[in-house]
Symmetry: C2
Subunit: 220 residues, 2 copies
């Protein structure tokens, strides 16, 4: 066998890549990007059995992508650092660029719901500074609480119809949720536009905002 040092290093890199090589693990990472969580909560959100989620999380841990801590009888997992989000972003960029299948899915589902250009982080910062927009966080309340964009209003998608009154109808809404492919923001923009309100969505989500080093607010 005897590998040279380069092969040994490449084998380690390959191990990290392989840890990213399963949709369930990517989804776990997306949720962990919102903040730390217990195994049970993650399993429920991603739709996995507890044992299965536990094992996927351990693979991520072996790859150095997540870390965990024990608090009483709960074990909380979190992303190892913001660099993980950067790696996920790089993976997404490359996949979007050269995978026809990604484009097909996006056109077939997402593009129908949002024919308007998404807003970049820079655009959002500018518009917030000029006081022209409402930033809307459509994630569940607990995720909002763990960290959100400064000044954002939290109305989870399911409550949006009932709480429209909370949004000034003359201000443009910029909605965001967990990431570039989280459907909540798409649905929220579609719902608002159906009411004749101006709305667009942030190009990606909270983890990317945080990984970019931009300020984050919490509710605790």
């Amino acid at each position: 066998m005897s590998m040279g040092p380069k092969q040994a290093i490449l084998a380690e890199f390959a191990g990290v890549a392989r840890a990213l090589g399963h949709a369930h693990r990517l989804e776990l990472l997306e949720h962990l990007g919102q903040g730390e969580r217990g195994v049970d909560a993650l399993a429920a959100r991603v739709g996995l059995s507890l044992a299965n989620a536990s094992q996927h999380l351990q693979q991520l841990r072996r790859a150095g992508l997540v870390a965990n801590r024990r608090d009483g009888k709960f074990i909380y997992y979190r992303l190892a650092d913001d660099g993980v989000t950067d790696l996920l972003t790089a993976l997404r960029r490359q996949s979007e660029r050269n995978l026809a299948e990604v484009d097909r899915i996006r056109r077939g589902y997402f593009a129908d719901r949002d024919s308007f250009e998404p807003v970049s982080r820079e655009d959002l910062l500018e518009r917030v500074a000029s006081g022209l927009v409402t930033v809307l966080d459509v994630r569940p309340q607990d995720e909002f609480g763990q960290g959100h964009l400064p000044g954002a209003v939290n109305i989870p998608l399911g409550e949006l119809q009932d709480r429209l009154a909370e949004l000034d109808p003359d201000r443009e809404v910029i909605a965001y949720c967990r990431g570039a492919y989280c459907v909540f923001a798409f649905e929220a923009v579609a719902a608002l536009r159906a009411q004749g309100r101006p709305a667009r969505r942030l190009v990606d989500g909270f983890p990317e905002w945080k990984a970019a080093g931009l300020p984050v607010a919490t509710s605790f």
Copy 2:
């Protein structure tokens, strides 16, 4: 089964990650980063059977990471675009950050050979501009010919001892080769320093230089 659009997209991303999840494929990508190559040449350099290399290359192609073209009876593979190098760099960064094993290998092998700080691309550009350094490309001649740093001198590692006279002993040498873990540059720096000559190495290699959009020279 019925997956939502997000799960379908994540499954595609996972497919790309899985394509990176094997040391042989990462090594193939490293070689493709130097320029396009035929299957036979790649198989020989990476030490794979022809059929095995062919199959790995096809996995990379399905993942949209490489492209190929036919010319006569040869099929030449190349990286799909410079973004692939960026993704590989992101993978390397993350792996270095949180994998104790990578650090151990690096200390055990590489650090022994090069206790001096590597030179960043920006540093190299500055030093070249001030005319103080010789840039040394220690890759094989054919790789040099397909693309190299402007003004670089090509002396493949194996010929370095015999061709020392070609290097001005008073100018610092900055050596580079295929990438951050290519051993050639480490060996070259060690050999030069053993002769009492000032030498350091570029932090990564030719593909990263090219992907950064910096100028590239060719010999054809």
